[in-house]
């Protein structure tokens, strides 16, 4: 029987992180990009908790994970507000069309 070790957690979080990156890079919809960011944050959370469980850190990891969850909630609220505004200006949430930075 295989015991679940730190590496399994890290493996899962790596997959999550990669999926997050993939989402951010490939999706055209700004909302989907935001979801990619959520995935990356959660990958980080798994890392925090895993290191806290297997390392000698006490509850600091879990606390940080809670903190990130709160942060993610706030970030989602702000980011969605921004996306709404972008939609108002550009009449689109396609990130490929929003390339003002180039100018």
């Amino acid at each position: 029987m295989v015991t679940v070790s730190l590496y399994h957690y890290l493996f899962v979080s790596t997959i999550l992180f990669s999926l997050g990156i993939f989402g951010i890079v490939t999706r055209k919809n700004a909302v989907m990009v935001l979801m990619g960011i959520e995935l990356i944050l959660n990958a980080a959370n798994i890392n925090f908790v895993a290191f806290a469980r297997y390392g000698n850190f006490g509850f600091q990891g879990q606390l940080m994970a809670l903190f990130v969850i709160v942060l993610a909630a706030a970030e989602a609220a702000i980011a969605l507000a921004i996306v709404l505004n972008i939609y108002k200006v550009f009449s689109s949430v396609n990130v490929d069309e929003i390339d003002r930075l180039k100018e």
């Binding site: 990156i21 951010i24 890079v25 490939t26 990009v33 990130v95 490929d96 390339d99 003002r100 930075l101 180039k102 100018e103």
Partner: protein, 695 residues
């Protein structure tokens, strides 16, 4: 008030007049009155000065000087303190009086003569400047101040001769007078420098004392002679002596009263006055050369005057001739008579010039005596005064001219008896005859006979009061009574026996004329109370020459007048026939001995030729070098331009193109899409991780 203060005031009165008149004249119609009032005031003060000096300080010279520039001690030279000052001796105050008298009558004469001129008040301002300059020459006690005022006279003569500068001939004459004078002044300047280097002072008296003490320039009598002659160069220029006399006849282009002022008491007298001043340091050799120059200057213009037809030109040449007389007299030692002649000549020559001005005025600026004639009836007062002055100039007894001329001729005779040299005597008497002839030719052609130009004659009229009054005054001064009670011998008169005396010579005895050396052993033989000039020998010679001179000079003058009447009044002889007979001589005289032509071709032409040569050098050689260097520079610039365009610009452009190319490459990455950036970031991160994984 002491006499020095008085003299300074007199000196600056004309300058004040000059400044006031010049600066108010533009807007103030009566500005000329300022100048006239001031000059009359100056004349009155000069009379006061003359009277006080001659009555109170007859035998003392009043000298006052102040330090003008103190340069301290100069290495290798010594202490330099330049002083200015005033010296009032009898000669100076008499000259001062003469200058102001002539200047005053010229001013008064000009009031009517110049009426209507568009630069009326400026004319009077210039007259004031002229009077100021001349007074400065007269009263100064040093050579430096003399030189300064000397140049001021040159300047004001330039202004006045060229007063009608719209006329080309007038402006040319002004320039000619100034430039010819400069030539003489150059010599004078060199002489002054030699004096200063030798004696470290400019003062006449100090120089005389040093020479008397045996200090000579470069310790040689030869250089003393050279110095004297260099100083004399100034007098040659100012007094219009041969060979620099050419400016004076041309100076007739100025207004006629100016001619009277320049040619009687101021400018030309300055040269003679200067020689009078420096007489004690002139060595025998220098005096001999001065006498020769004077004799030539007396003779040549006298012959020229015989044939001239312009009334003023005749008088101008007569002036040169008379100045030559004075210079010659100084050269042969007749010092007092030279000065005496300077004064008497100033009066009657001014009278003649003003008289000619009166004639010209009434003839509406006709100056050719061929077209005059018969004016005697129209202008009786002008005629009478002109005739009186002419008699004086011709040396007829009972006139002042007789006294002074007689003295000079006696001087030449005395010189002959002392040295056996007949040259000066011959010149003296010949010129006396010529003078009488041409002056009476002038009088007869102008005033006697039938009028040749009827129209102008009918319009002729006697001049107004202010023009007549100076004539009467000046012709009055041509009578003997003002100078001596004895009309045949001026020696006993107050001017010569008391006022003017020959100076004590400073020149070493070995450098003097032999007869100017006093021999001690004769002292006992001669009576003590007798006045002695230079030496007993000379005094005796003058005395014994006196009586023959009276008859001889009377004879030659009478001869000259007789011929003038024969030729022009009674027409017994025909001047044209005579002229035709001696054609070359007549042409020589009529064309003024070709002096102007000679100077034009030799000096002016020479200068022009030399300038042309220099221009050629400039054009071909200098310009060639300049142009060559320009071409060379242009060639080098072209090469350097090519290099700039090709290599340097190429490099710069290449850098620019290269940067652009690189930019094009990297432009691809700059999409403006956040997702691309993120991909790139992650790739870079991965590469970095891969590279640095060993750490």
């Amino acid at each position: 008030m002491d006499l020095i203060t008085l003299s300074v005031i007199i000196l600056f009165i004309p300058l004040l007049g000059f400044v006031l008149t010049l600066f108010t004249g533009m807007n103030f119609k009566w500005a000329f009155l300022i100048e006239n009032v001031l000059i009359v005031l100056g004349f009155i003060l000069s009379v006061v000065l003359l009277y006080n000096k001659l009555s109170g300080y007859l035998d003392t010279d009043i000298v006052s000087e102040f330090n003008w520039i103190n340069l301290g001690i100069i290495p290798f030279f010594g202490e330099i303190i330049i002083k200015l000052g005033i010296k009032l001796d009898n000669v100076a105050v008499i000259m001062n009086f003469t200058v102001f008298l002539i200047s005053m009558v010229v001013h008064l004469f000009s009031i009517d003569y110049m009426k209507g001129d568009k630069r009326y008040s400026r004319y009077f301002a210039y007259l004031g400047l002229f009077t100021f300059s001349m007074t400065g020459i007269v009263v100064t006690n040093n050579v430096l101040m003399m030189y300064i005022f000397w140049e001021l006279v040159g300047l004001s003569s330039y202004l006045l001769i060229g007063f009608w500068f719209e006329k080309k001939s007038a402006s040319d004459a002004g320039k000619k007078a100034f430039i010819v004078n400069r030539i003489g002044d150059l010599g004078m300047f060199a002489g002054i420098l030699i004096l200063f280097v030798t004696y470290k002072t400019f003062s006449f008296q100090e120089i005389f004392n040093a020479v008397a003490a045996g200090q000579l320039p470069f310790n040689s009598e030869f250089w003393l002679t050279i110095t004297g002659l260099l100083l004399f160069c100034g007098a040659i220029g100012k007094s219009a002596q041969f060979p620099l006399h050419v400016w004076l006849p041309d100076a007739m282009e100025g207004p006629t009263p100016v001619s009277a002022l320049i040619h009687a008491a101021t400018m030309v007298a300055a040269g003679v006055y200067f020689i009078v001043r420096i007489f004690p340091i002139l060595s025998g050799d220098a005096l001999l050369i001065i006498a020769i120059i004077g004799a030539i200057s007396a003779f040549i213009p006298a012959t020229i005057a015989l044939t001239q037809n312009d009334i003023k030109r005749v008088l101008a040449y007569s002036t040169v001739s008379q100045l030559g007389y004075m210079i010659m007299a100084l050269g042969i030692g007749a010092y007092v008579f030279a000065f005496f002649h300077l004064i008497t000549h100033a009066f009657f020559k001014a009278c003649l010039f003003l008289g000619s001005g009166s004639v010209i005025h009434s003839m509406h600026h006709e100056q050719d005596i061929q077209k005059m004639g018969g004016l005697r009836k129209k202008m009786p007062i002008t005629y009478a005064t002109f005739l009186l002055a002419t008699l004086a100039l011709s040396g007829i007894p009972l006139t002042s001219g007789f006294l002074s001329k007689d003295g000079i001729l006696a001087g030449t005779l005395a010189y002959t008896s002392l040295t056996g040299n007949w040259f000066f005597t011959f010149i003296g008497f010949t010129v006396a005859m010529l003078t009488a002839f041409y002056m009476f030719r002038l009088v007869i052609l102008t005033f006697h006979g039938e009028p040749k130009n009827k129209e102008k004659y009918d319009h002729a009229h006697e001049s107004p009061f202010f023009m007549i009054m100076p004539l009467v005054l000046l012709s009055g001064l041509s009578i003997f009574i003002w100078y001596t009670p004895n009309p045949f011998n001026a020696d006993s008169g107050w001017v010569l026996s008391k006022w003017v005396k020959a100076p004590t010579l400073s020149v070493p005895e070995s450098a003097r004329y032999p007869f100017m050396v006093e021999e001690q052993k004769q002292e006992s033989i001669v009576k003590q109370e007798e006045e002695v000039t230079f030496s007993h020998e000379y005094t005796h010679a003058m005395h014994s020459a006196h009586v023959p001179t009276i008859f001889l000079s009377g004879f030659v003058a009478g001869l000259g007048i007789l011929f003038a009447f024969l030729f022009y009044q009674w027409k017994k002889l025909d001047p044209n026939k005579l002229a035709a007979k001696v054609k070359p001589l007549y042409n020589l005289s009529y064309n003024k001995w070709y002096f102007d032509e000679f100077y034009n071709s030799v000096f002016v032409g020479g200068t022009l030729a030399f300038s042309n040569f220099l221009r050629w050098i400039d054009n071909t050689i200098i310009d060639g070098i300049v142009n060559g260097s320009a071409t060379l520079t242009r060639g080098v610039s072209k090469v350097s331009g090519k290099f700039d365009n090709g290599v340097v610009d190429g490099l710069v452009n290449f850098t620019a193109y290269f940067s652009g190319f690189i930019g094009l490459l990297f432009r691809k990455f700059q999409t403006g899409k956040v997702q691309t950036y993120i991909v790139l970031v992650i790739f870079s991160l991965l590469i970095l991780l891969f590279l640095f994984k060993s750490f």
